[in-house]
């Protein structure tokens, strides 16, 4: 039996196709991935992210504890700020990507900040963040208030010209990929490390945390492989696991995610490749079931909000 989120009835009413996603019944698509993608880029979308865990740490040693497990220095984080951080194992492999937050009550909400308030005795927290490459807010409310909250929104959601429409996991993946944002199980995992993934900005090597010794070694020696953006010739898609080869046909890496970019109308992929083949402009190829499809290294992100 799959776990259902508080928004289940809303998804059914909005004609969602529901799939098993890590044990949760999740909406993958409502109308079409391209349609939902474009709606997000041009206007706005509503994503159900209630499958994601929320943990609260409190007590006198909470900060000390978080400093030991998180790659970023929580002591320098200001109240009201939220930041992406990582949890690593001893070898420096990534176990989890998380957003860490410190509460404060403010009126003006800047990007990567948040507020907690109460409305009709219902506490809620709004984060100005997201994972689509667009500006966004993430709202945390009690499950019991979910139906009411979504009803307040759905009054206008189902109109053809609505500013905001629901979008599913399918569009979420093409959006984050265009924005060059790494996803756990694709670009991130226990086998990889955040330095090679280009997430050095989220790792504070001046402090000690689980995995910091291993990551210092990677930083000093330089990563053997780097995460790069690839643009493939033609319309075929390089999917996760497809080998990346150099001009001589020698395997030098592997695709972690790929799609046909709805915004750019190009076949794009993220891949780990040998560092000496990772410079922007390098001509490579992706092995698509035995056919070498020409590709070149391009800067990440593929898409930047203007």
């Amino acid at each position: 039996m799959l776990k259902r989120r508080p928004f289940h009835e809303f998804h059914v009413a909005a004609n969602a196709r529901l799939v098993d996603f890590a044990g949760w019944e999740m909406p993958i698509i409502y109308r079409s991935i391209n349609d939902e993608h474009e709606q997000t880029r041009k206007s706005g979308s509503l994503f159900d992210v209630s499958h994601m865990g929320r943990l609260r740490f409190s007590g006198p040693d909470a900060a000390k504890f978080l400093d030991l497990i998180l790659t970023r220095n929580i002591q320098t984080q200001k109240f009201g700020q939220c930041r992406y951080s990582l949890v690593c194992n001893e070898a420096g492999g990534v176990i989890e990507k998380i957003a860490d937050v410190l509460p404060v009550d403010v009126r003006s909400l800047k990007r990567y900040h948040f507020i907690s308030e109460e409305l009709m005795m219902t506490p809620f927290t709004v984060y100005r963040s997201g994972y689509t490459g667009e500006d966004g807010v993430e709202v945390v409310i009690p499950a019991r208030a979910a139906t009411m909250a979504v009803k307040l929104l759905t009054g206008s959601l189902d109109k053809p010209n609505a500013d905001i429409k629901p979008a599913g996991l399918g569009a979420r993946d093409t959006l984050r990929l265009e924005a060059g944002m790494p996803l756990y199980g694709h670009e991130l995992g226990e086998q990889g490390d955040p330095i090679s993934a280009g997430l050095g900005w989220a790792v504070d090597l001046t402090k000690t945390f689980i995995g910091s010794d291993a990551l210092k070694a990677v930083a000093e020696a330089g990563p053997k492989r780097k995460l790069v953006g690839l643009e493939l010739e033609g319309r075929r898609i390089g999917r996760q696991g497809a080998p990346v080869v150099d001009e001589a046909g020698k395997p030098i890496g592997e695709v972690t995610s790929g799609t046909f970019s709805p915004t750019l109308q190009k076949s794009i992929a993220m891949a780990y490749v040998d560092t000496d083949k990772s410079a922007v402009g390098t001509a490579l190829a992706v092995d698509l079931k035995g056919t070498a499809n020409a590709a070149k290294v391009v800067p990440l992100p593929f898409y930047k909000r203007s």
Binding site: S32, I33, N34, G170, G234, R236, I237, F260, S267
Partner: protein, 127 residues
């Protein structure tokens, strides 16, 4: 959209329509919906020989890649060039404008041995 009964199907979702000794092949609406937004259809060249139950191409969507099969053996006499520039035709109109190839079958009777619409729907869990 209802699944047309004027053609025969493979369990792998390809439809086959025999008209004037030529078999036109495409995929069902169920398959197109399951694939979601189709981004690329790889089709054979005219003149290619295809075996019965043999692979004739590949279809890609934002979500997945899958092989395309022909239920009949024969020679490819025409391919839908329109899919090169607009592969989403398969999503919009899978039973007409989104057709893929036309085959001159070695044995036209092979078509009638394929699944009738009700058997196709039953086998694929859409009945």
């Amino acid at each position: 959209m209802s699944t047309p009964s004027d053609r025969r199907y493979l369990e792998s979702h390809e439809w086959h329509k025999l008209e004037g000794g030529i078999v036109t092949i495409g995929i069902s609406q169920h398959a197109a919906d399951e694939l979601t937004d189709i981004t690329y259809v790889q089709l054979p060249k005219v003149g290619t020989k295809v075996a019965a139950k043999g692979r004739f191409g590949e279809i890609e969507s934002v979500k997945a890649t899958s092989d395309l099969y022909s239920g009949v053996g024969g020679e490819v006499v025409e391919v839908n060039e329109g899919l090169n520039s607009d592969p989403a035709l398969v999503n919009r109109d899978p039973y007409a404008a989104g057709w893929m190839i036309k085959i001159k079958p070695t044995n036209p009777d092979e078509v009638n041995a394929l699944l009738a619409v009700e058997d196709y729907l039953k086998k694929t869990g859409h009945a």
